[in-house]
Symmetry: C2
Subunit: 492 residues, 2 copies
């Protein structure tokens, strides 16, 4: 090496460690304050599309900027444009939690920045992923035959499961593609999540490769309709590829009858995938086991700890009872990823598309240990209790109705104000907009039998009975105000 | 509400904010120490498969555990089993960086825990994703027609690009699946990444749907061979679906001639996807523009800021010049995700499979601003300089040879000790194992023309000329030691 070389390293490295220490502590203080005070922030911001973008320069800076400038902009530009998913009155979509131990796990994992694609690339991360997913399997009371792997989201997990189902249904397609094959279908209820149809499209089956099955008056899949659809398709030369049953649908948290569906899948030899992305954690509760009876006969199951298990986004666990088929659907190991340990340990990259695999197991391990099995169960049980209370309160009220059974943490309901269904729908949309505009709670909606229905999903770790009941009072006040206003305007 | 209700909330919430503050500060101190002292840690651990798992209880705890216990185990069980990707002497695979501003960005994003699927679900995160990917587009000198979206990894980005190519090649397959279609093919060089073949499998084209094109003596795709393959396939009734060109292959960082390949894609009307996951950031350097000439004619391009742009894993940007086709391949918007802003702003979930979308834009925004365009360019230029120096040093040494042009940050080389290719391969494997076992550097290997070749990838933000040259001396010493040992054993 040339002794007279310029000191390239002096200003070409990372942020100096002491500067990192200073600003990371500042960031932690911000997060700790945020977690303590988030309750006082508006859940949904008063921002319009494009407003935030306009506050940011259109071009990147040439010169470096200070962390002070970055953190200032984070506080003054980004935070006012946030929909606060980590707020205890966030009840939209499915409510999620970045719990304290989960955030700390993410912080450590991001600094390590390892890639758990094969054992050798990240030994501890690979082994902890096996341990943490096996711990969760035990918590869920699933048999040991289910091997877990962590993906980013349930959409990916489900697509991988469908790829495995395709591998089993058309073994020759691995070599030849689907081109010469008899067409086939994936079945799911009319209430199943859009990710299933997206997955069907992704793996090449087309929209005709997806057949929805009608639901009963509780929005759960009708096994008789499923059986009839399969028979009809078989008669027409269409190959059944997979059945996707849902435990906790997105619209109403409906629970498909998995035991009956599993029997149909067994009978016809069809891959059964269970979308328990949302509902899965409830399998930890002894009093709720009956809903999950039969899910242990599935070929694959997805459960998302980042939904209702207090783990920061993203962390979706795909369990597979036929990992050899899942692996066969994807596994291609080129020379530069060969290492002698391949035979001694699972290469997690073989069970899906993503080669880059963050160290997601750490936060899941932290969350399970910090709260413990008992603490996790107590929190979920409390959410179920609050949801049930809210369901009863709404059911007791005139001019409101509950639209689906309140089994899990989701309450679906609507105001029955208005003369016609159209007017009722308009009023419910207005109630939704008003509650969200208030910043005091955030809800989303769905449509059931052409009626606009409000969804209030309880699942954030900081949510208490008080948060939910205050929101219920707010909803009633808003609806009452509309009635007053409407009476006033009629009277004028 | 019942005033006499038990105080459920008291022990059912999250970690108390002050406890979070205490342990998150402790975690920050650990990270700051780690970043300051990682140079002194062994890069690769002395652990065997199963060792870490055996140190962890087989079953999850029932009772909560303390953060002290968790952090102790993190330090004593997990860290000793780490392959330290954030070490300046980590030269395996492609070397990556969790830079200070990137880690701070991840910390803040994990606490916010938003899901940027549609504008309404996370206004600021959705808009910042557009801004940050557009900033990066400008840094890469790509035209404004390219719209960016952040995915987890290049494997996903490439699969989504192939789904878009399939949508264009077989428009009817969206409805009918690939079942009745004429078979088709994706083309990539023999040196292309395994994720491309995985993507081809995922979208249903089968292994026959993937055709590799021979490479020249610099391991770059031969356009003449590509043209011939397309003509041959067209004559045989096989539909060309996509061409994937690589800027920075995994084995040798070869640069496919994208301008010539783009002309072929244009001529035949074939989707051109460019895998610049690794090499992309070099497009920021004015002196390197010629390698990228023509990439602006691609239909889609993937560039991974989590590889060579100092952003923690995961952050892969898919640029698409035909976003309407990418969107058509996946877009299904059910009622419960409908909102009035859909028409006013892009719904990022429409451009891929994953519905759950972390706030990855924040760390990318922090990294670009903290280092600035000039700082990013200077760091990458310095990596290129060091790689070039190492290439020259190896080329000047007897009994060593450089195996491919050192254009980017990767040096591929081998020891020529040994009488036969087999013995040479064995010796290079032994050198690799010895350097990795030393804990002083971590390298991986590839195979080129049946020869085992060592790969030294320079890309970590803390890597200096000294780290690289020390590793080169270590490699020479190890090889020399083998020769001495072998002479001694022959002499005895």
């Amino acid at each position: 090496m040339n002794e007279e070389k310029p000191d390239w390293s002096s200003d070409l490295g990372d942020m100096p460690p002491e500067e990192f220490r200073e600003y990371a502590h500042e960031a932690v203080n911000w997060v700790a304050d945020f977690l303590a005070e988030v309750d006082d922030l508006p859940v949904f911001p008063s921002t319009k599309p494009g407003e935030i973008r306009r506050k940011i320069p259109a071009a990147p800076p040439s010169a470096p900027e200070s962390m002070d400038a970055l953190l200032n902009d984070f506080r003054s530009v980004i935070i006012p444009g946030m929909n606060h998913w980590n707020h205890p009155s966030f009840f939209g979509y499915f409510s999620v939690s970045a719990s304290g131990p989960g955030i700390i796990g993410e912080l450590l994992a991001s600094a390590l920045n390892v890639n758990a694609m094969v054992w050798r690339s990240a030994p501890a991360a690979s082994e902890l992923e096996e341990v943490a997913t096996d711990w969760l399997r035990q918590l869920l009371n699933l048999p040991a035959a289910f091997e877990g792997v962590i993906n980013d989201t349930a959409s990916s997990s489900t697509m991988y499961a469908l790829a495995a189902a395709r591998e089993r249904a058309w073994p020759d397609a691995h070599q030849n593609g689907l081109f010469g094959m008899a067409p086939g279908r994936v079945y799911a209820s009319q209430q199943a999540h859009s990710s299933i149809e997206k997955g069907v499209l992704a793996v090449g089956l087309g929209q005709r490769g997806y057949r929805t099955i009608s639901t009963d008056d509780e929005f759960a899949m009708r096994p008789d309709a499923l059986g009839a659809a399969i028979v009809e398709d078989l008669d027409a030369g269409i190959k059944p590829c997979a059945i996707v049953a849902t435990l906790g649908t997105t619209s109403t948290a409906a629970l498909d009858p998995v035991a009956e569906i599993a029997s149909i899948a067994d009978h016809y030899g069809i891959w059964l995938h269970i979308d328990a992305a949302y509902g899965g954690p409830v399998a930890m509760l002894p009093e709720s086991h009956s809903w999950f009876n039969g899910w242990e006969r599935a070929d694959s199951i997805v459960v998302n700890p980042h939904k209702w298990l207090f783990t920061p986004i993203d962390c979706s666990v795909l369990y597979c009872r036929r990992p050899e088929i899942l692996k066969r659907a994807f596994s291609i190991v080129p020379e530069y990823l060969q290492s002698s340990e391949v035979s001694e340990s699972r290469s997690l990259m073989d069970f899906g598309i993503s080669l880059g695999r963050r160290f997601r197991a750490l936060k899941l391990w932290f969350v399970i240990r910090y709260f413990g099995k008992d603490g996790l169960i107590a929190r979920i049980r409390n959410h179920l209790r609050i949801a049930s209370l809210l369901g009863k309160a709404i059911g007791d009220e005139d001019q409101w109705e509950v639209m689906a059974p309140v089994d899990l943490g989701l309450v679906t309901f609507r105001s029955t104000r208005g003369e016609t269904p159209e007017e009722q729908n308009r009023i419910n949309h207005e109630i939704l907009n008003a509650v969200n505009d208030s910043g005091r709670a955030f809800l989303t909606h769905t449509v059931l039998n052409e009626l606009v229905v409000l969804r209030l999903a309880i699942g954030n770790i900081k949510t208490t009975e008080e948060h939910v009941m205050k929101t219920w009072i707010l909803l009633k006040d808003i609806a009452e105000g509309f009635s007053e206003g409407s009476r006033a305007s009629r009277g004028s």
